[in-house]
């Protein structure tokens, strides 16, 4: 299994600087934010995949997570709020040799960018979409997002959020994504394997990554510490796909599944374009 390659034991410490732009650090993320953990897991997964830095194009929208491309030494594109996948579609279709990775957040991908999200999945264009889901708009100061749980507090839901949440993974699956997975910042080694697998996948791969925003979500919802947030939301709030098989349904109530949730083979957009459209037009 190729996933075994992702985690190397008894090796020298991983050199993150190989992939970072050290002179662009420190990053803007708050103490306790999960984005740094996700970034490191992603860099380890990319390293394991053997892709060269020139081969990777990282595209993001707007928000805390979308600042990631500024810190990594790839071809990087920090675009408009919600539009990362649309820009990424242009990049990928124009130059299919690039490995496109989209970094986006829950508000960016599922609210303002919802249309681009579902249509990217529908086309099954080859790109990896990492949705950093912290259930809040962090950059603007803690407003409720499409993944804020019902009843939770935010600066725009002072009486508790009444809106039901979007299940990012179900949405991706229903829209046609061919690889759908969920990871968390708490399970960072597992996350590394998931991202590795997502990057290897041909077609649209979506990984929802639950991480924590202690500054805005944590404080407004009375979490005493970052560890409490990580344990309650990411550890106790999820159950891995393997464990879920063994558990009775009542124990799965209110828990999100973790791991690779959906993986199928379906023709990829750029290949289809080359084969059918260019092929037919040029009479090949």
């Amino acid at each position: 299994m190729s996933t075994a390659v992702a985690v190397k034991k008894d090796k020298a410490p991983f050199d993150y600087n190989k992939y970072l732009r050290p002179n662009k650090l420190p990053h803007i993320w708050c103490p306790g934010c999960g984005h740094g953990i996700v970034l490191k897991a992603m860099l380890r997964a990319i390293d394991a995949s053997g892709l060269s830095k020139d081969q990777i194009c990282m595209v993001s929208g707007i928000g805390c997570s979308s600042r990631t491309p500024g810190y990594v030494d790839f071809n990087t594109l920090h675009t408009l709020h919600g539009r990362a996948m649309a820009y990424a579609t242009g990049v990928k279709l124009a130059k299919p040799s690039l490995k496109v990775i989209v970094i986006t957040g829950d508000g960016d991908a599922l609210a303002i960018g919802g249309n681009h999200f579902i249509h990217t999945c529908r086309r099954n264009i080859d790109m990896t979409v990492l949705v950093y889901s912290n259930a809040i708009y962090g950059m603007t100061g803690g407003q409720y997002s499409p993944t804020t749980p019902q009843g939770a507090n935010a600066t725009t839901s002072r009486y508790g959020n009444i809106e039901p949440v979007f299940d990012c993974c179900e949405l991706a699956k229903a829209s046609g994504a061919t690889f759908v997975a969920r990871g968390t910042a708490y399970h960072c080694q597992e996350l590394e394997k998931i991202i590795f697998e997502a990057v290897q996948h041909k077609g649209t791969s979506v990984v929802e990554i639950l991480d924590q925003c202690p500054t805005y979500y944590g404080r407004q919802n009375k979490y005493k510490s970052v560890t409490e947030m990580m344990e309650k939301i990411e550890k106790d709030g999820t159950v891995s796909v393997k464990q879920a098989d063994k558990l009775p349904p009542e124990k799965l109530q209110g828990k999100l599944l973790r791991g690779v949730l959906h993986k199928i083979e379906r023709p990829e957009y750029c290949e289809q374009y080359k084969k059918f459209i260019i092929g037919k037009a040029q009479g090949k």
């Binding site: 830095k53 020139d54 594109l77 649309a86 820009y87 242009g90 279709l93 124009a94 130059k95």
Partner: protein, 423 residues
């Protein structure tokens, strides 16, 4: 030399052919009347030359996709009309800020809102200039003939690549859907400009290097791992909060157009030498104006035409110079008075300003500018059943108030009968 073969093409098809001639290899768009034929034509033609065509999920995605594609080194284009142009504005601003060459075609239709999808208009000329937020450079060209749509689309690509900026092609439904015989240019006949790429090594490469007026633009995946953002940035492309650097960056993107206005401007001048009355007209309105000017000339009147093919940056030099020596500048346009404001600004009160009856939609039907044979007018849906009377009747009192809100002075002006008579 053998005579060149003429083709009967629609304006929108000519636009697509112009894009291909210029080397466009990526198109993303969303269906919208009256621009859709551009997409339809390119969906057939682009794959034949190995180019990419994609119909995106919406207008915003289309401008986003062409910007992304352009960063991989492909010349790219999108086409739309009024409502779609509004939706694209944020993306146009991004391309201005990130200095990504691309071409946006807007086949103007009546507005506001859904407006008059199947009718012509020139009411997006100010949106082209001010549509996106923030101070930004704008280049827009305005062809008036089918042949010219082809050549101006090529020029739009050239300007985009040369100045690393989005360029808009503005024409209206009349020429967009009109069929005229045109000659497809041979290879090498029209100038085609490609963007300058860096030759330095990657450590020395800065995508917004201020040592150049227009910095070379690398393509993604070719070894220059650069950063692009819509945030105010330094010369290395990374965001900055430094007010001084922000000021410098914004000035630089404005200056790169400002300093090259002479290269970007393009005007057609007709009978201007001893003209006392000048018509300032662009796009299909200029076709009617040309007819009116010729008619006036035949009856011994000294009337000239100034037709800007570059609307933005505004042809201020030509207008300033004219205003000093002519009595009247007439600005007919298919809107409630947009470019006339700019013309007035540069005429600086040195001559009289007139506009014929403004139209929110439909060609200018006043006898003065009536050019198209009546049968071509059918698509106007009988809105203007009696063109001449229509002009004479206006403005109705209620309308007059409305129009005064737009502009302080306005009269219906008849070139043919007298150059000073007001109605």
């Amino acid at each position: 030399m053998a005579e060149k073969k003429k083709k009967l093409l629609q304006g929108n098809e000519a636009c697509a052919e112009g894009a291909l001639y210029a080397g466009c290899r990526f198109y993303a768009g969303y269906p919208i009347t009256p621009s859709t034929e551009i997409a339809e034509h390119l969906s057939v033609r682009l794959p034949k030359v190995g180019g990419k065509f994609i119909q995106m999920e919406d207008e915003i995605a289309s401008i986003a996709a062409i910007t992304g594609a352009s960063l991989t080194g492909l010349k790219s284009m999108t086409a739309t009309s009024g409502p779609g142009f509004s939706l694209k504005q944020e993306g146009i601003g991004f391309a201005c800020m990130a200095e990504v060459p691309c071409v946006i075609v807007n086949v103007m239709r009546g507005g506001p809102s859904t407006g008059f999808p199947t009718g012509p208009s020139q009411s997006d000329v100010m949106q082209a200039k001010w549509g996106t937020h923030g101070d930004h450079p704008v280049v827009a060209v305005a062809p008036a003939y089918v042949q010219e749509i082809l050549s101006e689309t090529v020029r739009a690509f050239n300007l985009a690549e040369k100045y690393r900026t989005p360029v808009m092609v503005l024409y209206d439904e009349i020429v967009g859907h009109m069929r005229e015989p045109i000659v497809l240019p041979e290879k090498g006949e029209l100038e085609v400009i490609d963007r300058i790429k860096p030759t330095c090594n990657s450590e020395e490469y800065f995508p917004y290097d201020d040592k150049y007026e227009i910095a070379p633009l690398a393509a993604y995946g070719e070894g220059y791992r650069f950063h692009v953002t819509g945030l105010n940035h330094k010369k290395d492309g990374f965001p900055t909060n430094d007010a001084k650097l922000i000021q410098e960056g914004n000035e630089r993107i404005l200056r790169k157009i400002e300093n090259h206005k002479n290269d970007i401007w393009k005007n057609e001048e007709l009978e201007l030498n001893d003209a006392k009355i000048v018509v300032f007209a662009y796009g299909s309105t200029a076709r009617s104006a040309r007819y009116a000017v010729k008619e006036a000339g035949n009856s011994g009147k000294k009337v000239g035409l100034l037709r800007p093919l570059t609307l933005w940056p505004f042809p201020e030099k030509a207008v300033e110079e004219l205003a000093k020596r002519v009595k009247v500048i007439i600005v007919p346009e298919m809107n409630m008075g947009q470019m006339i404001v700019e013309v007035e600004r540069y005429a600086r009160g040195k001559c009289e300003m007139k506009n014929p009856d403004s139209q929110a939609a439909g060609i200018l039907l006043g006898k003065e500018f009536y050019y198209l044979p009546p049968h071509q007018n059918l698509w106007c849906g009988g809105l203007h059943s009696s063109p001449v009377k229509e002009v004479l009747r206006r403005p109705r009192s209620k309308e007059r108030g409305l129009r005064r809100a737009f502009r302080s002075r306005w009269e219906v002006y008849n070139v043919n009968s007298s150059c000073s008579k007001k109605r």
